[in-house]
Symmetry: C2
């Protein structure tokens, strides 16, 4: 269901776009929030067309199909944003590793934490670079006066920072026990 929403959202932001454009959009703008490859996107667009949420506005060169959102699609998007409780299933590989860490010897556990730290730092750096890039060039504002994706990016950065801090504290805690 959320893939539909992400597509409708991007389509609203873009005005109109092809499946290819949307795939690219997933690779850059929404990547840290939701992921999908073209093999998932194309069939979904077909289904959404059948459901009347989007329409093929025109067909361009190279078989390019240009989609745009319908009023039904806008309604669906709005309803989800306003009414959907975020109850996505909890599945975090990092948290699972953290959970099982006591199974390892002291030394090994420290190594794993060190690796998690590096990972988290890399992700944080990525997101901060994205932030900097976004704020270098102007980006359209939405109806609520906030720039597109800024809130999500801020959340991602905070979460990454929290994870880095956690690895630091966890490492310190383990070392105290040595």
């Amino acid at each position: 269901m959320s893939l539909r929403i992400a597509l409708l959202g991007l389509l609203t932001a873009y005005g109109s776009a092809s499946g290819y454009d949307l795939t690219k959009g997933f690779e850059k703008s929404v990547a840290h929030v939701w992921q999908a490859g073209h093999s998932q996107i194309y069939p979904e667009l077909a289904k959404m067309t059948a459901d009347g949420l989007v329409t093929v506005e025109a067909e361009g060169a190279r078989g390019r199909k240009i989609y745009s959102i319908t009023s039904e699609g806008r309604a669906e998007l709005r309803a989800w944003l306003i009414g959907h409780d975020p109850t996505g299933p909890a599945r975090s590989e990092v948290a699972l590793q953290a959970f099982l860490l006591p199974l390892l010897e002291h030394r090994e556990a420290l190594d794993v934490l060190e690796r998690l730290k590096t990972h988290a730092e890399r992700k944080l750096a990525e997101l901060e670079a994205l932030w900097a890039a976004k704020h270098a060039s102007p980006v359209p504002e939405g109806a609520s006066g906030v720039r597109f994706g800024d809130l999500a990016l801020d959340l991602g950065i905070r979460q990454s920072r929290t994870t880095v801090q956690w690895t630091n504290d966890a490492i310190a805690q383990l070392e105290r026990q040595a």
Copy 2:
């Protein structure tokens, strides 16, 4: 793949357990880290038995099958913990809502944020209660001197706190624009 790991981990912590026990284990101890229902667990245990990672040690009353981990299973678990890079796909409904929030009117956006805040606070309270409960009764320690699941729970609590803070700041930011 990670389901296997979670099952092997729980089995190690428990010593031995039935599919039913493990299902219960998923409901309480690992729930905030990884989710799985019995309809996923039973077939997976069968496959793992075929792969030699676990064995049916005994059969108890009511058709109860008691599983225990094999040395192969222990090796697999260890290899994953030590060698696996946490590259789980980024899919967060909260982040997606945050991303698309500018599509809404100012008032509506605030309502959504308020709801997200309530949600995050509820989750935080849950995890903190879990923490308190765990620390009231003794829990076995692992090889590294850390209690089972404590690190993951700490991470979860921090993440929840971060989310709550983010909602607060986002609300404040939106209100400043009114």
